[in-house]
Symmetry: C2
Subunit: 161 residues, 2 copies
Amino acid sequence: MTPTDPISALPKAQSMAPLCSVFRRYLKSQGLKYTTERADVLDAIIARDGLFEAEELLLELRKRGQRVSKATTYRTINLLQNAGIIVQALFDSKQSHYQLIYGKEPRDHMVCMKTGRLVEFQSAELTALRNRICKELGWLPVGHRFQIYAVSPEGQAGKIR
Amino acid sequence: MTPTDPISALPKAQSMAPLCSVFRRYLKSQGLKYTTERADVLDAIIARDGLFEAEELLLELRKRGQRVSKATTYRTINLLQNAGIIVQALFDSKQSHYQLIYGKEPRDHMVCMKTGRLVEFQSAELTALRNRICKELGWLPVGHRFQIYAVSPEGQAGKIR
DNA sequence: GTCGGTGCAAATGCTTTGCATTGAT
DNA sequence: ATCAATGCAAAGCATTTGCACCGAC
């Protein structure tokens, strides 16, 4: 798979410029403090490397023996959104789902309407199209979210339902 | 604007095969009843012809002098989702937003990160890309949701903030 | 030493539900 | 006539907030 492939496999762990310093810089710029709790939340997010919900983060933190309250976790999630490090993702769910996005191509999602299977993918073509649409309208692209609803091969085989 | 345009203007009111009969058929298939309340809710949705929230629907219904309770409105919204007539749309909002989708090309959304302005658009290219991605992976496309985050011309001009 | 941060528990607000009554087929 | 639908009010549940104490800079 090459970068020009419409669909490129996801690297399992994408090593990044230190995210924590990005967060620290954002906090400083806002006159806010970089606390251990906030660092712990970001670490837990990095450890998951994929979609997550607030409740899952709390579990991850507990598992790591890091004690961060529910309130602080939610507050930190909001800060990370403002910092442009994470974004909301996934429709059709009661709880908010988030994904790490800073410095990455957006990861798009494909959901099977029969089995519920969720697949992440990346499409350089989609990003290019998004940029073209923005350019035509005079907007400056920042990011996007793309979710496909479809029926997976298993779903078509009628193995479920 | 032609159908091959990446961005085609939205028809102001797209006349459709009778949506109510689609709904009625779905309800019958589930052993459910087509009540006046459910018809009223669907009518109100058709009248809006765009994004809406549950609360807005209630107002629309009141305006039309149709008395449907909040509970029934929410219940009908869920039925319409199951029937594939409406879907959820838009991230980053506390309330769920829905859009009429049955028999239409999906309408995509572009949100300005400075001013909050929301623009709807359609892209045939995007649908084609979606179909291609599905085909490559052996999935059957059903629909999609696409939301662009960008800065509008006004936002770039710094008129806000 | 100072503010801002944290944790707790209570509050909020959208959405769902239980139950007695009403109504579509 | 029957069985599901409605409306109301109460319950649920994810997320936010007020406040007293705590800790990073």
